[in-house]
């Protein structure tokens, strides 16, 4: 990156195997502040594993991860969250027995923000629920929310940690077109605040609308990267998704 500041996230030669399967194979990419990077690839190409490695839920077998200038490769997930990496999960993971408000409140008390006053954390959590359009469900236990509501709750909880990088794993899967549009607008707003976003998504409309840059994975390896226009025109991408003609 000559001439520019160091990227927010720097992933270098990352690899991770499960048994004999190389889920991520010598993968390198970067994300800048305020950038939205799409991670594309067919099922099983290593996108979610990559998220797990960046967030700290998984330990890599090789390679380096630097975030905000710090080598975080060996850091536990909680410490990375405190430094500003937040995530949502492919299969939504809310705290089922806590109310929607409590789900977000606890993230306000931890994460990068670490609000010390519970009253203030409560107000912040309520504002975040409002922002994702779930304010009316604040006192509902998370287990009783619909899938769409739980996804939005998960995003509110991730935002409550005051992240610098937000990892979104298929955030619009299973949502209606109206809900997808609302989610796209929400993500644009988040990016406008300077938060970088890494997005794993199969919804091409959402990907085109949001991503500045795209990295395409296939069998754990990077096979293409570039702007959405470049990437969708790329022969290898078409091949990875649809097979050889």
């Amino acid at each position: 990156m000559p001439g520019s500041a160091a990227p927010l996230l720097e992933v270098a030669s990352l690899s991770k195997a499960f048994g004999g399967l190389l889920a991520v194979d010598d993968l390198s990419f970067t994300i800048d502040s305020g950038e939205i990077l799409g991670l594309l690839g067919p099922n099983g190409s290593g996108k979610t594993t990559t998220f797990g490695l960046v967030a700290g839920a998984l330990r890599p077998d090789g390679g380096e991860i630097r975030f905000a200038g710090r080598p975080v490769t060996r850091w536990p997930a909680s410490r990375r969250a405190a430094l500003g990496i937040a995530r949502t999960f492919q299969l939504v993971r809310v705290f089922p027995g806590l109310t929607a408000l409590e789900n977000v409140l606890v993230a306000c008390l931890y994460g990068r923000r670490r609000v010390s006053s519970p009253a203030r954390a409560g107000a912040d959590a309520a504002a975040l629920l409002e922002r994702v359009g779930a304010a009316h469900k604040r006192n509902t236990p998370a287990r009783d929310l619909t899938l769409g509501e739980r996804r939005r709750l998960e995003i509110a909880r991730a935002l409550a940690t005051h992240p610098r990088l937000l990892l979104l794993d298929e955030p619009v899967a299973g949502l209606t077109p109206t809900e997808v549009d609302a989610a796209v607008a929400l993500f644009r707003g988040i990016r406008a605040e300077g938060v970088a976003i890494a997005l794993v998504e199969h919804n091409v409309r959402a990907v085109r609308a949001l991503c500045d840059r795209i990295v395409v994975l296939h069998a754990g390896r990077k096979i293409a990267q570039g702007t959405p226009e470049d990437v969708f025109a790329h022969a290898a991408v078409v091949e990875a998704y649809l097979g050889r003609r």
Binding site: A81, R87, V94, F95, L98, V106, L109, Y110, P118, A158
Partner: protein
């Protein structure tokens, strides 16, 4: 914050005043003994609840910390130290043991953690039974001056402190982090909650309070076989009380302890198999029919029921 809060505070104040004044208004030793047992069981059950209910870690080795606290307190006390100092020693020993045993066993999850802690407690019980002489001395000096009232006040103190600890968990940062860990460890880590640190903190708190309760029991009972205080009943009685009263709640252990001691007295089930049978069945009934326990059942029948004081649901046992 809540409309019912002043009323709740009033109830707590009245209950505390009644507990403190009881020995003043009555000299009935049977009644005082009964109240002592309720408070002792409240403290012990709540100490289990801190980790098991609020933290979702079902510890089946709680008796180890109760026993350790009892033995250390008794030894220091009979050695001539003031009882308060002896209790502090017992509490400290149990807390230290909690950290030492918690650190490796909390690497296990769910049922593996439960079995692991059960095994540790049994190892301690058998070792104690083998190492320490199977005799129970009667220290005549201490028995001559035996009075129930100071023992009773220590139990009041223990029940209040441990219940206060549970109340603190419902509103503190640490308590909310612990609830997140109970609900989903991976998601808790992802928002910055160090799961292991929180579980270990709750384990130390839980075992320390169990040790303190064991120490008070030793001071009350004076004479017992060393292995007796490591018996699994000191794990399973509090566990049953917690589930009867309401797991993961501030007042469940108190409600459960009252119920437990009343049933025990009514059926004269001090020892032996009928005790297990009756409370085993009650436990099953509660877990199946009213998983929230007495506290939730009372809330459900009260008009204008408000949200539960605890955050979230009981963990699967």
């Amino acid at each position: 914050m809540r409309g019912a809060a002043p009323l709740g505070s009033l109830g707590v104040a009245c209950g505390a005043a009644a507990a403190v004044l009881l020995p003043v208004v009555t000299a009935n030793q049977a009644l005082l003994s009964w109240a002592f047992l309720v408070l002792l069981y409240t403290a012990l059950a709540q100490s289990w609840n801190l980790l098991g209910g609020f933290g979702g870690q079902v510890n089946l080795g709680h008796a180890a910390f109760f026993g350790l606290g009892a033995l250390v307190t008794r030894m220091v006390w009979l050695g001539g130290a003031p009882v308060v100092l002896a209790l502090a020693a017992g509490t400290g020993a149990a807390t230290a043991a909690g950290v030492l045993i918690g650190a490796p066993s909390l690497r296990l999850r769910g049922p593996y953690f439960a079995i692991g802690t059960l095994a540790i407690a049994e190892i301690l019980r058998i070792t104690t039974g083998n190492v320490l002489p199977d005799v129970s001395s009667l220290p005549a000096r201490d028995l001559a001056g035996y009075a129930l009232t100071p023992r009773y006040y220590l139990a009041v103190f223990a029940a209040a402190v441990v219940t206060g600890g549970a109340w603190w968990l419902t509103r503190s940062r640490f308590g909310r982090g612990l609830a997140a860990v109970r609900e989903d460890e991976t998601a808790a880590e992802a928002i910055g909650v160090g799961a292991f640190r929180h579980k270990l903190g709750a384990f130390a708190l839980s075992s320390g309070f169990a040790g303190m309760t064991g120490g008070i029991f030793a001071y009350y009972h004076v004479s017992f076989y060393p292995a007796f205080v490591f018996s699994p009943v000191w794990t399973f009685d509090p566990l049953v009380i917690v589930y009867l009263g309401g797991v993961g709640t501030v007042w469940g252990p108190l409600a459960g302890a009252v119920f437990f001691v009343v049933v025990q007295e009514a059926l004269s089930l001090q020892v032996g198999e009928p005790h297990l049978l009756v409370f085993g069945l009650l436990f099953l009934v509660v877990v199946i029919a009213a998983p929230g326990g007495l506290v939730e059942a009372l809330r459900a029948v009260r008009p204008g029921a408000r949200a539960p004081a605890h955050m979230g649901s009981p963990p699967a046992a």
